[in-house]
Amino acid sequence: MIDLGAPLGFLHSFTGAFDFIFHQREAVTGGGVQVGGPAEILHLTWTQFYVSALALAVALAIALPVGLVLGHRGKGELLAVGIGNAGRAVPELGVIAFLAAFIGVGLRNVTIALMVLGIPPILTNTFVAIRQVDRNAVEAAEGMGMRPAQVIARIELPLATPTIMSGVRTAAINIVATATIASIIGVPTLGKLILGQDTYGVDGVVAGAIVVALLALAVELALAGMQRALTPTGLKLQRARRSA
């Protein structure tokens, strides 16, 4: 019957979860339907990654230019920081329900809903990062006759990279973790397992959660590596000297 006690059951479910990831088994609901196993897990993981990457790309395409321009001009702090903070308070499920009523379910809805989650940290961080660039460097560049676009591209953007990238990393983690809900608006992701205890059992639920966590970790590591690669050598040296 129902086992409500047994706190050790939680540890046990990890073994079951890994078994679910690596071996196919019959669904709890029976009928010879096979669930779990590497093929299904990989497929769901790929979809989760794919919708996340798409949403992050769109969020970047919108938030980065806006943040750069506003930061460069030093105007619209209220807008950049305000939208950023307000955006964090938007309930994702509300966005989904709202979008479902207007544009229906599917990849478009998922991308917009997740993009809403990605814009705030990127926008706010970009704005703040550009504002924090050493004014002397910017004035020197202007003094050398650089045009505004050149100042942004060659002085401000490189110097602001670490802070911008940390915004991108926050956005990416939020998006990857939240992409689980895509499974209730037309795109099957790992959320299908997490929401489906009566079909996949506790093993399936825990397996889904483990794989989402691993995917988020992998994305975080990849972006951290990218951040290192994009940070100008000069900044790295400066930091190394400061911390030494």
Binding site: L4, A27, G104, V105, G186, P188
Partner: protein
């Protein structure tokens, strides 16, 4: 405050019932039409006053209404009724019965068998009485009495817009044969791997769909309205189906989908103490709960935003169970 009001209401109910009983004695043969015959009236038995019954329900519309119907009916029969109509899940509700926190609550045959006894969906009968007998036997071993099912069943069903059904000549699920490969089906994310859902439609009916769109159950009508799906997994007692010709349910002609008729479950220890009026009242008050009636009651709460208690009372009154 609420206690006082409930007691006042109770006194009022008793007074009204007595008055009507007296009136009924005077005028014999007062017509059985309209379902308002006093023959149906639940009689308050003073012997029941000392028995306290706590009626529970899970926390969604249909359960609230059913919980109220049973609670108000039992109260009319003279029991000292308390309510606990907000239990989060069947697991919590079952534990509440076993711990004595509630006396009983209405549960669906399919949920009782699937969730409490891990019966695979494939083995849960589509016939309400077979499903009931199976659940009753399993529950008896747990010290729980299961009363007979309601006339209506709240089961999963394949539904579509009536315009689509007419255009494609769809009546039952079998009639999808040869057409399904051009149609999109929407259902819960797990539907694709459930034998009582898409997996069963493929296996038992030999159907293949153009696409399966996983959606939250809250969107099951939105996808049809928006044209995101041609077919959607609906629930037979949905409020949206009340008096509506907009949607059509395709008959499950091969009996794939498990029966989801509510059955009232109660702790045997309390049920034994409660005497014969208990079972009698439960079976009586659910007697008029046919599918169209339940859809209508659900729509009064979900769509017209009335209170479940008021809707339940209205049902009991129009059925002639209470005045």
């Amino acid at each position: 405050m609420r206690v006082i009001r409930a007691r006042k209401a109770f006194t009022l109910v008793v007074a009204v019932i007595l008055a009507i009983a007296v009136a009924a004695c005077g005028s014999s043969n007062n017509g059985g039409g309209g379902g308002g015959s006093s023959a149906n009236l639940i009689k308050s038995n003073p012997a029941n006053h000392k028995v306290t019954i706590t009626v529970g329900s899970k926390n969604f519309t249909e359960e609230y209404i059913l919980g109220e119907i049973y609670a108000q009916g039992l109260q009319a029969a003279g029991y000292n009724v308390k309510k606990q109509l907000n239990l989060g899940s069947e697991t919590i509700a079952l534990k509440a019965i076993k711990d004595g926190d509630i006396t009983g609550y209405p549960e669906y045959t399919s949920t009782a068998l699937g969730s409490f006894f891990q019966v695979p969906a494939q083995k849960i009968p589509a016939d309400p009485n077979q499903a009931y007998q199976m659940a009753k036997a399993d529950l008896a071993k747990e010290g729980i009495v299961a009363y007979p099912p309601t006339p209506f069943g709240d089961s999963n069903a394949v539904g579509t817009l009536t315009s689509t059904a007419k255009q494609l000549h769809l009546t039952d699920i079998s009639s999808l044969k040869g057409k399904s490969q051009n149609l999109t089906l929407a259902g819960s994310p797990q539907c694709s791997e459930r034998i009582d859902c898409l997996a069963g439609l493929e296996k038992n009916y030999g159907l293949h769909f153009k696409k399966f769109t996983p959606v939250d159950i809250g969107l099951r009508y939105t996808v049809l309205d928006k044209g995101d799906a041609d077919l959607s997994i609906l629930f037979t007692s949905d409020a949206q189906l009340a008096n509506s010709h907009k949607y059509t349910i395709l008959k499950d002609d091969k009996g794939l989908i498990p029966a989801g008729n509510p059955i009232f479950l109660a702790a045997k220890s309390v049920a034994d103490k409660a005497g014969p009026d208990f079972a009698k009242t439960i079976e009586q008050v659910q007697g008029n709960l046919t599918l169209p009636v339940m859809q209508e009651l659900n729509s009064r709460v979900d769509i017209d935003k009335q209170q479940p208690a008021a809707v339940a009372h209205e049902y009991l009154k129009s059925s002639g169970y209470v005045k």
